[in-house]
């Protein structure tokens, strides 16, 4: 058990270092872009040199790169003041910057968008794991039979249909063409506002997103089970006289758990950075849409923030998976 504590501590330390490197890399890349961040603060068509100069000082863009990066980093921990005196705007920690285009601290924009994306990703994850793992098992168990063929057809459709098409079809047939459809056509309702309405507004996005992933997982789980079934220890389990159900449920699936958890964790982390297409089709104000509008408007502080947050989620998820691995696979705990 001592080894496990050391392992986790080391992994945590490594994660902090990686996050630091990621934030630095993102910051460097965006400082190299051929845009003057100060000029962008007053809109695309603004060229009042007075305002631009004032904003440059206010946002710290007049300072050397290292100072800017330091201000950004320290802002994450203690908050940051933009400007001085009466015109100053304070963004509390963790401050990712200030968006002049949306007139808001970036952190509060993230705070609005992230929960929406989390709801979307969690619901979809649950749905696609149930469908994908279930169908994968059925498909492997009835390999070559009609159930396997049907599920292969599902996999083919699911992997080839792009999410925006699935989403639009669902909207056309279940919202627009269906009189008295229970699903709202006007986008997102927050759960604290009206939980029933929230669920209704999320069902179609969940299905849309889960559909594509469920297909991939069906294929993955099927091939995992078939591969593990040829392992020597499965033959041992059979030779012991265990029933097919116990062999599948206890021996085969236990061995398939590690790769499935890894894949699900990484896919989930990727989605938390924003499911751009699904959010766009269903008009959900999540991370994907926040990034998309930021890119369209060249809202640099928001782009930097969403990029770093998305990367951080992946890095942290990798750490969680590594630690989870130590619990799943006894060979990792030394």
């Amino acid at each position: 058990m001592n080894g496990l504590v050391t392992y986790i501590t080391r992994r945590l330390g490594l994660t902090v270092l990686i996050l630091l490197a990621v934030s630095f890399a993102v910051y460097v890349i965006f400082s190299l872009l051929p845009y003057d961040p100060a000029a962008l603060t007053c809109g695309k068509s603004c060229n009042d040199p007075g305002i631009i100069a004032a904003n440059r000082v206010r946002l710290g863009y007049d300072k050397p790169f290292w100072v800017q990066y330091w201000l950004f980093l320290s802002g994450l921990f203690v908050g940051r003041n933009f400007g001085t005196g009466a015109a100053a705007i304070f963004c509390p920690a963790p401050a990712f910057g200030y968006s002049f285009q949306q007139h808001a601290c970036v952190t509060s924009l993230l705070g609005d968008a992230l929960p929406v994306t989390i709801y979307l990703a969690v619901g979809a994850l649950v749905l696609w794991l149930i469908v994908g793992v279930g169908l994968g098992i059925v498909s492997a168990k009835f390999k070559g039979k009609i159930w396997d063929t049907l599920s292969t057809a599902f996999v083919l459709v699911g992997t080839s249909l792009p999410t925006f098409l699935t989403g639009l079809m669902l909207i056309i047939f279940l919202v627009i063409k269906w009189d008295g459809s229970p699903f709202p056509s006007d986008g997102y309702t927050a759960p604290e506002e009206d939980f029933g309405q929230f669920l209704l507004s999320m069902v179609l996005p969940w299905i849309t997103l889960a559909f594509a992933y469920a297909a991939i997982y069906t294929r993955f789980v099927r091939s995992q089970i078939l591969e593990i079934s040829t392992e020597d220890y499965i033959r041992t389990a059979k030779a012991k006289g265990l029933s097919d159900g116990v062999i599948l449920g206890k021996h085969t699936l236990r061995a398939a758990l590690a790769p499935i958890v890894t894949m699900a964790g990484l896919d989930f982390a990727g989605l938390l950075g924003g499911a751009i297409l699904t959010e766009a089709v269903f008009n959900l104000p999540g991370m994907g849409r926040l990034s998309l509008t930021a890119v369209v408007d060249i809202d640099l502080p928001v782009i930097v923030a969403t990029t770093i947050v998305a990367a951080a989620i992946v890095v942290v998820m990798n750490m969680i998976l590594d630690i989870a691995y130590a619990f799943i696979d006894p060979r990792v705990r030394v």
């Binding site: 220890y233 030779a239 012991k240 006289g241």
Partner: protein, 333 residues
């Protein structure tokens, strides 16, 4: 009536290239407390013939015919064609198996204790603590030190030899009547091989079980078996007591096998001989003698004799051989 009686066992696999006749009519018997070694090179059908009646081959692509009669407490039963649920109750209880590679034969994610207890629980409706006691008892019997502590260990925390001991303990959890040992020492160091074989011999006496020892190594057979069945091309080609086999091998293939292993009782100067050629393809196997293409004594027989398959004949008491050199119509010596 012997404990296990295999009659005209045939196993065929459907493959994209054609039908593979992996086992083409094998018959043998094994009595209580006896050890029968099944010897042959890769692809001779020695493993497949035993996996087949255990129901451990993929059912969809395999055709098994013949009969395998086992004497159980409930009378004699034929394992061939038995429905899977009944066969399952015999597997691991009346007939247990150990395999070649103990590294991969144990589940890497479960403790030794889990796996041993599971083997006992599936055939006995007793308390888990009773199974646990049995597991500790058997682990100490096979020579695992501190068995009670070791129950909580995972397979990767054991050495290869120790893992094979655990496999043996697991196979013996339910006092099997027959133990099938499929190349139990092949993956182990030579020094460990001897220990495992000695252990198997000891346990066989204690448990009064029959052992089917599948191996390609005639060196392993010498000290371990009572009777030896030599297989070639999916058939038995020679079957006799172990002493008779080493003293008086008849079939040229057996002679070749014995010439290819070093022997203490022969001079150092003698070179080991290899059998020329390759094992036959089991798809294209024709009517004639399967060994003819590699046989060094083929010329002693009249032309065309080897195009007819020889029968397994008893040439003297307890010594059966499938070879035209020893049948009445052949160039009998």
């Amino acid at each position: 009536m012997s404990l296990l009686s295999v009659r005209d066992l045939r196993v065929e696999f459907k493959t994209p290239d054609g039908i593979v006749k992996a086992v083409a009519g094998v018959s043998f018997d094994i009595n209580e407390g006896e050890t029968v070694a099944i010897v042959g090179e890769s692809g001779s059908g020695k493993s497949v013939s035993n996996l087949a009646y255990m129901g451990l081959l993929p059912a969809s692509r395999t055709t098994i015919t013949g009969s395998v009669i086992l004497k159980t407490d409930e009378g004699e039963v034929d394992l061939i064609g038995m429905d899977n649920d009944r066969l399952r109750k015999i597997r691991g209880k009346d007939i247990a198996m150990i395999f070649q590679d103990p590294m991969s034969a144990l589940h890497p994610f479960y403790t030794i204790g889990d796996q041993l207890i599971e083997a006992h629980q599936v055939h006995n409706s007793v308390d888990k603590s009773a199974s646990r006691k049995r597991a500790i008892e058997l682990l100490s019997l096979v020579g695992v030190a501190n068995p009670e502590e070791r129950l909580a260990a995972y397979p990767h925390q054991f050495s290869g030899g120790m893992r094979q001991r655990v496999m043996i303990a697991m196979a013996l959890m339910n006092n099997p009547k027959v133990l099938i040992a499929d190349e139990p020492t092949t993956a182990l160091d030579v020094t460990v091989q001897a220990q495992i074989l000695a252990l198997l011999r000891d346990l066989q006496k204690q448990f009064k079980m029959a052992v089917i020892l599948i191996t390609h190594d005639l060196g392993v057979v010498a000290g371990a078996a009572d009777r030896v069945n030599v297989m070639y091309g999916g058939r038995l080609v020679e079957s006799t007591g172990v002493n008779e086999l080493y003293k008086n091998p008849l079939m040229p293939y057996t002679v070749g096998l014995l010439d290819s292993i070093p022997r203490m009782d022969q001079g150092h100067g003698k070179r080991l001989r290899a059998i020329p050629g390759q094992p036959p393809s089991l798809i294209k196997l024709g009517e004639g003698c399967a060994f003819a293409a590699r046989c060094e004594r083929k010329s002693e027989l009249p032309e065309g004799r080897c195009d007819v398959s020889p029968e397994l004949n008893e040439v003297k008491a307890g010594h059966l051989v499938r070879c035209h050199l020893y049948d009445s119509k052949g160039a009998a010596k």
